[in-house]
C-alpha cells in the first residue's frame, strides 16, 4: 500500500522538483549573464516598451476599477460604524500592500507572460533558437536577460501607477458618489499610509516580475511539438506564473510584515 502510494505520488513530485530546478537554473544562468556579459540595450529598451509602455491601459483600468470598487465596498461596511472617512486609509493601504502588486502582476502574467512564452516557444519550434546557438549567440543572453531586466524596471513602476490610479479612483468615488468629506478622507489616508507600505508593494512587484519572467521564458525555451506545444507552453506559463504570484504573495506578506509592520507605529 505504502509502495503504491509513493509510486503514484513519485512521478508527479519528481517532475515538479525537476521543473523547479530547471527554473532556478535558468534564473542562476540569467543573473550570471547579467553580471558577466554586455547588455544588448536595444533589446532591453524594446522590452521596456513591450512590458512597461504597452501595459499602461491594462494597468490603469485594473487600478481604477479596483480602487473604485474597494472604496465603495469599504464605505458600505464602515459607514454603518460611522467610520466613512476612514475609507481613504483602508483603500490606500490595501492597494499599496496587496491589491496593486497582486492584480498588476496577474494582469502582466496574462499579457506579457503569455507573449514571452509564445514568442520564445515559436522560436524554439521553428529552429530559430538553434539558429541563435549555431551563430554563437547564447539564447539566455539574447532572449532572457533583456526581458528580465526590463521586467525588474517596469513592474515596480507599473505597480506604482496602479496604486496612484486606484487611490485617485477611490477618492473620486468617495467624494462624488458616496458623499464622504474629502478633507477627512485625505487626512486619514495620508496619516495611515506609510512609506513602508509603498516600499512593500514595490518590493513585491519586483519579486513577482522576476517570477513571471523566469516561468514564462522557461516555458518558451522548453516548448516542443509544434503549434500545439507552443499553445500548451503559453497556457502553462500564464497559469503557473499566476499561481506562483498568489502563493509567493502570502509568504512575501509574512516576510515583509516583519520588516515593514502594518499599522500606525
Amino acid at each position: 500500500m505504502t509502495v503504491r502510494f509513493f509510486n503514484v505520488l513519485g512521478a508527479p513530485l519528481l517532475a515538479f522538483f525537476q521543473y523547479l530546478g530547471e527554473v532556478v537554473l535558468l534564473a542562476a544562468d540569467t543573473f550570471r549573464s547579467i553580471f558577466t556579459h554586455k547588455l544588448r540595450w536595444k533589446l532591453f529598451l524594446n522590452q521596456i516598451v513591450e512590458i512597461g509602455l504597452l501595459s499602461q491601459l491594462v494597468v490603469v483600468i485594473t487600478g481604477a476599477f479596483t480602487g473604485a470598487v474597494f472604496s465603495a465596498q469599504t464605505f458600505f461596511q464602515f459607514n454603518k460604524l460611522g467610520m466613512g472617512s476612514a475609507v481613504g486609509a483602508v483603500v490606500s493601504v490595501a492597494l499599496c500592500r496587496e491589491l496593486a502588486p497582486v492584480l498588476t502582476s496577474l494582469m502582466v502574467a496574462g499579457r506579457v507572460g503569455a507573449a514571452m512564452s509564445a514568442e520564445i516557444g515559436t522560436m524554439k519550434v521553428t529552429e530559430q533558437i538553434d539558429a541563435l546557438r549555431a551563430l554563437a549567440v547564447y539564447p539566455v543572453d539574447y532572449l532572457v536577460v533583456p526581458r528580465t531586466l526590463a521586467m525588474m524596471v517596469s513592474m515596480p513602476l507599473l505597480v506604482a501607477e496602479c496604486i496612484a490610479v486606484g487611490i485617485a479612483a477611490g477618492y473620486l468615488v468617495a467624494i462624488f458618489m458616496l458623499d464622504i468629506n474629502g478633507t477627512y478622507y485625505m487626512a486619514n489616508m495620508v496619516r495611515w499610509t506609510r512609506n513602508r507600505d509603498i516600499i512593500m508593494g514595490l518590493s513585491k512587484a519586483f519579486c513577482f516580475g522576476i517570477l513571471i519572467v523566469f516561468i514564462s521564458c522557461h516555458k518558451g525555451l522548453t516548448a516542443h511539438e509544434g503549434a500545439v506545444g507552443v499553445g500548451r507552453a503559453t497556457t502553462e506559463a500564464v497559469v503557473n506564473a499566476s499561481l506562483a504570484v498568489l502563493i509567493c504573495n502570502f509568504f512575501l506578506t509574512m516576510l515583509f510584515n516583519i520588516i515593514y509592520p502594518a499599522g500606525y507605529q
Binding site: Q128, D130, A131, R133, A134, A136, V137
Partner: protein, 251 residues
C-alpha cells in the same frame, strides 16, 4: 578538419546513431545520404553541438567538442556555419537584419560596413535588392539562400547543409547546388551536405557517405557509389522499396 568517432545517440527508446565514424578533409564537400528519419539531421546537429551524444567523440580542428558548455562551443560555432532545413530565419527581422546578425553580434556597428557586406552576400546568392523583405514573404528557396548568406557572412571554415534542396523545384534546387559548389570554390569552405536527393549529392559532393541504421554503411566517391553492386545501395540509388526488389527477384 572534422572527425567523428563512434558517435551514438538514443532518443527515447529509439537508437538513432549506433557508432558513426566519419572524417571530412579540409576544403572537400561530403554528402551524407540516407533514408528519411535515418538520423542524418541528428548527426549534423551533433557537429555544431546543438545535440549532445550518448557516446563518442567529435573533433573539429583538433578540439573535441563533446563535454563543452554552450559558451565554450561559441568559439567552435564561429568556425562552423549551418544551414537549417527551413532556413530558420529570425521572423521579426528583415532579410538585411538576418544576414547582418552574425556581424552585429560580433561587434560590428558601422551601418555602412554592414550594408556593404549584406549587399555582397546577396550578390553571391543572386538575390540583389531583397534587403527590406521580411522572411514571411520569401519563397522556400529564397529563405534557404538568406539562411546560407547568414551562415557564411562571418566566413566560417566549414558549412553544414541540412537538406538544402528539399521542398524546392528542380530549377531552384539546381541553383542551390551550384551555389554550394561556388562557395566551396570561391571561399574554400569545407562542406557537409545532408540530403536524400541523389542528384544534389552527385552534383556537389567530392565524397559520399551512406548512413544506414545509425552507421556509415558506405563511404567513397560518387563513382564508387554508382558502381557499387550492394543491393541496399542500388535500392537507394534507384529509389526501390524492399517489396519492389523482392517482387523483381521473384519475377
Amino acid at each position: 578538419m572534422i572527425a567523428v568517432r563512434a558517435l551514438a545517440k538514443k532518443i527515447g527508446q529509439q537508437e538513432i546513431l549506433r557508432g558513426v565514424d566519419l572524417e571530412v578533409r579540409t576544403g572537400e564537400t561530403l554528402a551524407i545520404i540516407g533514408r528519411s528519419g535515418g538520423g542524418k539531421s541528428v548527426l549534423l546537429k551533433h557537429l555544431v553541438g546543438l545535440m549532445e551524444p550518448d557516446a563518442g567523440e567529435i573533433w573539429i580542428e583538433g578540439q573535441n567538442i563533446i563535454g563543452m558548455n554552450e559558451r565554450q562551443l561559441g568559439t567552435i560555432r564561429k568556425k562552423v556555419g549551418i544551414l537549417f532545413q527551413g532556413g530558420a530565419l529570425f521572423d521579426s527581422m528583415t532579410v538585411e537584419e538576418n544576414i547582418a546578425f552574425p556581424l552585429h553580434e560580433a561587434g560590428e556597428r558601422d551601418p555602412n560596413v554592414l550594408r556593404a557586406k549584406v549587399t555582397e552576400m546577396l550578390d553571391v546568392m543572386e538575390m540583389e535588392g531583397e534587403q527590406a523583405k521580411m522572411p514571411v514573404s520569401l519563397s522556400g528557396g529564397m529563405k534557404k539562400r538568406v539562411g546560407l548568406a547568414r551562415s557564411i557572412i562571418r566566413r566560417p571554415s566549414c558549412v553544414l547543409y541540412d537538406e538544402p534542396t528539399s521542398g524546392l523545384d528542380p530549377v531552384v534546387a539546381d541553383s542551390i547546388n551550384r551555389l554550394i559548389r561556388r562557395l566551396q570554390q570561391r571561399f574554400g569552405i569545407t562542406s557537409i551536405v545532408v540530403t536524400h536527393d541523389m542528384k544534389s549529392a552527385f552534383d556537389v559532393a567530392d565524397r559520399i557517405a551512406y548512413l544506414h541504421e545509425g552507421r556509415i554503411y558506405f563511404h567513397g566517391t560518387s563513382v564508387d557509389l554508382q558502381q557499387s553492386s550492394d543491393p541496399l545501395i542500388q535500392d537507394f540509388l534507384l529509389g526501390r522499396s524492399d517489396g519492389q526488389r523482392g517482387h523483381r527477384v521473384e519475377s
